[in-house]
Symmetry: C2
């Protein structure tokens, strides 16, 4: 006696004395058979424990899986706990849900073979952030075969979704510089060519502009510096590799623990997470914000707006970024480059 298999469409058809096509139609094309027969088939199916067409077989046959993969540059573990990435996923999920698709999470940090293997099941891809190795992109399905949307980085020949990083950073820096700082400084995110959680030496090599959006953010800062007669090269910079409290804290501590006459009194940070770490560690040290130290962030995450002091930052709508990417990948809107506007939020950390 054979081990009891899952009931198949064919089993059901045989049981009911109809053809497999009719059963298939009962599930997929209601207009192809009489409502009465359809109802009969559906109720018998339930009774016999048939749950509907098998997704694996169906996707092999149709070529579509109703699965969209989001490929994240960072590890899933990190991305899921990052407010900005989570919001992006949120927006993606919202649109996919509404259109009967589901979300497969992949990471550029996975074993190459793994990403490659699982990816061939997806109907389309949203790639978020530049992969550590460009290789991954070659591993993905051939361009033109299945839709791919790049978010927050440029990918040759593919539609992209960006925010206006450079003008936004120009604007926030200009706001901050209205009150002339004595010692301004910048805390960057993933800006250096080689991993670095420390101060950036003046001769240190940076990532090219097409490899990281933070390069554009820095350009915005620099333009504002120059307009305020501050030589950008004279502004000390630090770098942080991962946008988490744990990684930020030591670098921030190093900055705040500088002697009074060296400690910056204005810190332009490339993310709210960095800025929040500054706020937390400054509080612990009895430094007053904004009196002793002014801080700006980037992103506009909820955590920075619901606590005191409220962060001065650039709000980017990551949820909307996700929605747009999802709609593009589903073909619901034209697959053309999009640039989203940001909004300057003036909080208490740099009034």
């Amino acid at each position: 006696m054979p081990t009891s298999r899952r009931t198949t469409l064919k089993d059901l058809a045989r049981e009911l004395g109809v053809s497999t096509a009719t059963v298939s139609n009962a599930f997929n094309r209601p207009d192809q058979l009489s409502p009465k027969l359809r109802e009969h088939i559906l109720s018998e199916a339930r009774r016999l424990g048939y749950r509907g067409p098998d997704a694996k077989a169906r996707s092999l046959r149709t070529g579509r899986s109703r699965i969209i993969a989001v490929v994240l540059a960072e590890s899933l573990t990190y991305s899921l706990n990052d407010a900005v990435a989570s919001e992006l996923l949120s927006g993606v999920a919202e649109v996919l849900d509404a259109h009967g698709h589901t979300l497969l999470l992949l990471s550029g940090r996975q074993h190459e073979a793994q990403v490659n293997g699982s990816s061939s099941i997806a109907d389309g891809f949203i790639v978020y952030g530049l992969m550590p190795s460009l290789m991954l992109l070659e591993e993905l399905p051939l361009p033109g075969q299945r839709p791919l949307v790049a978010v927050d980085f440029d990918l040759e020949g593919q539609p992209t979704v960006h925010v206006d990083d450079e003008p936004a950073c120009y604007a926030i820096a200009r706001h901050a510089l209205k009150t002339p700082p004595r010692r301004p400084a910048v805390i960057n995110l993933r800006l250096t060519k080689h991993p670095c959680n420390a101060r950036i030496a003046s001769d240190q090599e940076l990532l090219p502009a097409d490899r990281t959006i933070t390069r554009a953010r820095l350009a915005g800062f620099h333009q504002a510096f120059a307009e305020h007669a501050i030589d950008p090269a004279s502004v000390p910079m630090w770098n942080i590799e991962e946008n988490t409290h744990e990684v930020c804290a030591p670098v921030v501590a190093e900055i705040l623990d500088l002697p009074d006459e060296e400690r910056p009194d204005l810190l332009l940070c490339m993310s709210d997470r960095i800025a929040l770490t500054v706020v937390t560690l400054a509080e612990q040290r009895g430094l007053r914000i904004p009196e002793d130290l002014r801080v700006t962030g980037f992103d506009g995450i909820a955590e920075g707006q619901y606590r005191a002091p409220r962060l001065t930052t650039v709000r980017q709508d990551s949820v909307e970024k996700g929605r747009i990417a999802a709609r593009m990948v589903l073909g619901l809107e034209p697959a053309e480059p999009r640039l989203l506007r940001t909004e300057l939020l003036i909080g208490d950390s740099c009034p």
Copy 2:
């Protein structure tokens, strides 16, 4: 001329003058052919743009997809922005990654047919939180066919992962009651039978204990009250449906805006998100914590520990919960009920 298809294993075999089985073996069973031939096949494959076996066909044939589905009770949009759910997913992703599996996100809030359809592709399921309708569970593959692990709720006959909600809440309440409050109160999360973002009337029907873990948390609070000669029935309770700042804020505002002689001086909250909302709104109103108002949370999320005042709370290791659930579903550890320990964190919000 046919539209250019994706290269298939068969194409490649024909091109190289070997059989399809040999190509398949080159990818899946290195020991079944000479290293030299294997290398030849692999390099030719790359050259001809063959990316390896198609996931759809492979999963149909083998019956396995290397995809594990996490089914979330709440919407994906909500879950992805909830620190606790994100941490769980983080832990799940970590283990799946390490074992060459990927993560498919489903929500119990999706259209039934959708969940059902996509779900048949997964090799196993992690179900987090009780579905709005129990129906979903019937929709999932027959028990015994594919592994299913329930997290934070009980599912008949299925392995579960829980934390010790009741003793944890007993412990934190006992700690709080060491300093006798004049007007203690509780802010619950999804406790009432019918949705309610307001004070709970004394005759209001609650969800049964097997439908929500917050029932166990409340039982812990009540036990501590009773031991401190406080009649649990005399303690006012509020309820909140969704663990977000936006939903919490109006309810918390209602509480904090009570006249001085009615306003609670101790708030036991069922989540850190609720407690943080209390802290934020209290600050805005000039209420001092802990002098005027003591607050406790639950979860131990990072946000509550990195800001001042540090939250007094129960830390649960959601990441580990996710890891365990993932290991169970992959068969890496016995599928038996697990109860994780929590840790009392005494912060500044209720010293």
